[in-house]
Symmetry: C2
Subunit: 344 residues, 2 copies
């Protein structure tokens, strides 16, 4: 019973029997079972086959013992649905036609997710049934700024020169793009909740593109709008951002229920700066999963010791890395449960 | 006369007539003159032709009106000199044989820069003569952690999974690599100083790979050793790191004379956390060079207003971005000089 509610209780800052844990990218190619399902299929084929997407979603929970499932999908499903074709390669996502001008932005549409992302929503329904109440299911989407970076750069970037040229050089077009992305993301998260998701996470994976003042100008209004739009649905809204050490005030103002922080800030420092009115998720460096067992356990104990148990969801500071030993992930989950069940 | 000493005075926290300014990657492909010199040559060919490397170094100073020159080179020259062949492609550097085990680390040697990097040192001598005392010449090297990331990942990386596997999984080998890199970097910077460089900058461009505690463990000892080794030579030692908001204490402990910060932290916050015993360099988001003239000027005024003039070297938070308008860079330099000459 406690495993079924632990994660949602922590999100709502209610007491728990131990600290709940799940991991970003907990279903992925570091797992043998995932690789078996992926064999002979592209990443997007897997995302778009509801039974299989649900299967890898649920397998991760069963294999790892985590306290939440997250639907297997990709943030760029939203871009696809808006009319920007995406290919996921081993080097990352590639967009055939990066957006560079007003016409390209105007050509994007704000889709109805029930017709534009039906396989994702079906995967949510299948996964929710298969989980059968054992743990809650998290839905997700990319945050507008991060989605914009992929759309404008055409993939991953080292410098984000194209995106910055748009944001700073043509802010009106940039805001038009961000507005469309915010509406798309809102609708997509609402649809995932309607299909059965019990929490949602916004991934602002490239938040560090911008300094605090620009993040406030180009990210906050859209984050706030999405968070507001999902108010009253009874699901916790989690906001994740990397390089967030100087963005915590802005993240807090978004109104999100849970702030998910990366490893670049000590979690107690994040707790102190965020105040008590919000739950905190994070923030072990995913590289720690390469540590030997005892050293990993010491890191977990150290992290747990830095913050009160109530209102803390244990997670990594970013996704599980390729090549991570599966055994190490299982050990991590067990260590979080065991070490947090003792003491206050 | 004041242009000749402005930069070194600011590094030493002596009063200046206005705030000195130079820009990381001020010589680069955003410039027509640079593209003309590069035509028909690879990036490394340009680095390794002393007359041409000196020419682009000096042209940037003449075209932009900046207060310091930085020798045109690449941080991976050090890797080449250690026996790890590098190719610089449009997508970034590529190392033919990424280091993954103890044998590969042991095969690297700590080179004598006078025989291993003679063209770099000759470029320093030629540039120094051509500058003729107009502005000081800065030498540089990659910081050990950043060099290790290229050597282990084999190029740029999104997740640094290979490097983290080494640091966390095989720390003894990692420290052996970092030790060799520190010795190489020390010798390379000493040689550049002997050849005529009047300041040196360590680029820890991927410092954000690690959280504060791990940065302390894997970066600080080596930064400190390099900074100590260059003490008493009469040249300011500048330490640059990205995602540095939570690393400032550690950077301060390195003993560097100047701390160069990226745009992810407000500069007055950095000033406050670093205290008064060190000069500060930075930190305009390079994307701001895409702003229209008046908006750019407003950003410059805003940044200058956040910190006292003494002990501040104006720079970007990272290198000039590809596609940056040249006119905008010239305007930035003029604005820094004009706006900082007024007031305290």
């Amino acid at each position: 019973v406690s495993r079924a509610t632990r994660f949602l209780d922590a999100c709502a800052r209610r007491p728990t029997d131990c600290t709940p844990v799940w991991l970003m990218r907990q279903a992925g190619r570091y797992q043998a079972s995932y690789r078996a399902v992926r064999q002979g299929r592209s990443f997007l084929e897997l995302c778009e086959t509801p039974e299989l997407a649900a299967q890898v979603t649920v397998s991760a929970v069963e294999e790892l013992g985590v306290d939440a499932a997250i639907i297997f999908s990709d943030i760029l499903i939203a871009a696809q649905a808006m009319g920007a074709p995406v290919e996921i390669t081993d080097q990352g996502p590639v967009l055939a036609s990066p957006l560079r001008d007003a016409a390209a932005v105007d050509a994007l549409h704000v889709p109805d997710p029930t017709t534009a992302a039906p396989t994702l929503l079906e995967a949510v329904r299948v996964a929710r049934r298969a989980l059968d109440g054992r743990v809650p299911l998290i839905g997700f989407a990319g945050a507008p700024l991060t989605l914009a970076s992929y759309l404008v750069e055409g993939g991953n970037s080292k410098s984000y020169a194209q995106l910055k040229a748009l944001l700073f050089g043509q802010p009106e077009i940039a805001h038009r793009l961000l507005d469309k992305l915010a509406r798309t993301v809102s609708a997509l998260l609402r649809a995932q909740i309607a299909a059965g998701c019990q929490a949602v996470q916004l991934f602002d994976s490239w938040a560090g593109i911008l300094g605090p003042a620009d993040y406030r100008a180009f990210a906050l209004p859209y984050l706030k709008r999405i968070v507001d739009d999902l108010a009253g649905l009874g699901v916790p809204r989690i906001l994740f951002a990397t390089s967030c050490a100087t963005l915590l005030d802005v993240m807090r103002e978004s109104g999100a229920d849970v702030i998910s922080v990366d490893w670049r800030i000590e979690i107690d420092e994040a707790r102190r700066r965020l105040g008590d009115g919000v739950a905190l998720q994070g923030n072990l460096d995913p590289g720690c999963l390469f540590l030997p067992p005892l050293a990993l356990e010491a890191r977990v104990a150290e992290l747990l010791g830095r913050v009160p148990r109530t209102g803390h969801v244990f997670n990594l500071g970013h996704g599980v890395l390729p090549g991570t030993p599966e055994e190490s992930v299982r050990r991590l989950v067990q260590a979080v449960h065991r070490l947090s069940a003792v003491g206050p």
